[in-house]
Each structure stands twice: as C-alpha cells, then as structure tokens.
Amino acid sequence: MALIGYSSHRQYRAGGALIRLAGGVVMTLAVIFVPTMAATPPATQPSTDAAPAKIKRGRAGFDTCRGCHAIAGYRNAYPNYAVPRLAGQSADYIEAALADYRSGARRNRVMQAQARSLSESQIHDIAVYLSQTGGQPAKAQR
C-alpha cells in the first residue's frame, strides 16, 4: 500500500511537472508570438509612408555610415577586407543584415554598435534608401 501510495505520488509529481512544463512552453510561446502577432496586423506608419519620404530619412540616417561605405575601397581591419558596396543592394537583405547585427546574430564590432543605435523604422528607411540610390561614378570605383 505504501509502495502504491509512493508510486502514485511520484506519478502525481511527474504529472505536475509535465503540466508545469507544458504551461511553461505555452507561456514562452505566448511571450514570443503574441507581441509579434499584435504588432503585425495594423499597418505601421513607416511601411505606409511613401518611398520618397523613406529615402529622404534613410539618406540622412546613413550619414554616419559614409565614413566607411562611401570611401571607394575602404577596408575593414582584422580581418582585412573591403567593406561592401551598398548602393543598389537588395532592401530586405540590408534590413535583415542590420537586424542581425543589432541582435548579435551577425558579428562585427563596428556594425553591431552602429546597428544598436538604430530603431527598426530607421533600419527600414536606410534599406529603402540604399536599394534605390545610385553610387559614385564608375571611374571612382575600386
């Protein structure tokens, strides 16, 4: 009897742990998804803005980046490589790259610091600006 009691107690505890675990999983999923679900449906202001306004804000927001990305052949040190050409680059790719630098999923000290100073809507504006702007004349390219 004592043995049965013990085992059912264990089962009860195991069941309780399972319920807690399931509850925890549900709560975690809720914490992760509910804010994003709540955030998506109503079109946010930046995405409904006309492109010219985004480009204007993106151009201004990009000014601090020109010290590296507007110098033809400017190189990153350690490791040594030319920083990427960005005029004419795909908008969503730029947005994802900056979001990854901001979250730390993509690592580069300078870029992580820069991206952390930008809001999501600033990142979006910069991406639109970069994708829709021309670059330096061909002879200046290296």
Binding site: C65, I71, A82, G88, S90, A96
Partner: protein, 120 residues
C-alpha cells in the same frame, strides 16, 4: 522551428543536389577549375539571379560587382559558422579555400548596379 525554416531547409537540400560531386571537383588543384565553377554557378543563380546581379527576391543580396575580399570574407564566415544561414552554410560546407576564392573572383568580376555610395 519557425514556419520559414522548413522551406529553407528543403531549399538547401535541393540546392546541395545541384552542386558538383567531389569526384568532378578532383580534376584541378583545390577543385576549383572552370568545370567546377560552371557546375556550381546554377546553385548560386537560383537565388542571386544570373551572374549574381538580379536576385529572385529582395531578401537575397546582389553579389555581382561586390568586392572580392568581402565576398571571400562572407563565404568563409558561412563555412566556419561565424555567419549563420542554413542555405549558404549548407552550400559552402565542404568547399575548399580555392573554391571559395574562385566564387569570390567570379562574382566580383560580373557587372551589376552595385556601387560605392556617394560621399554626400
């Protein structure tokens, strides 16, 4: 697993089938001869477009006309796992240094609208 992960994994698996086999790559040192490059390029073009200059979606970067050293840096980072992307990681897994260099060399020499930004 996110809802985007499944199609991405499937795509990665499909593209890996497009890559030349190890046997095909053995003919040149580093396995990065013209034949290898010709056989590998379709896998790149599937997302980055012909010659890497016209991505099929704005989610993928233009790689034609990008700096060779930057492309090599990116490819190497995908191979080491420093940069995480299921598709790119699977594709470059097992490529030699010479092969990554051959890809960087090829795509940096293709023309596109990619430019260095104006100073102002």
């Amino acid at each position: 697993m996110s809802k985007t992960a499944c199609p991405i994994l499937l795509t990665a698996w499909l593209f890996m089938g497009m890559l030349p086999s190890a046997a095909e790559a053995q003919s040149t040192p580093g396995g990065a001869g013209t034949a290898w490059l010709d056989n590998t390029r379709p896998a790149c073009a599937a997302c980055h477009g012909a010659q890497g200059s016209a991505p099929v979606s704005p989610a993928f970067p233009v790689i034609a006309g990008q700096h060779k050293s930057y492309l090599l840096h990116a490819l190497t980072a995908y191979r080491s796992g420093d940069r995480n992307n299921v598709v790119m990681g699977s594709l470059v897994q097992g490529m030699t240094d010479a092969q990554l260099m051959a890809l960087a060399e090829y795509f940096s020499n293709q023309s596109s609208d990619l430019r260095t930004l104006p100073r102002q």
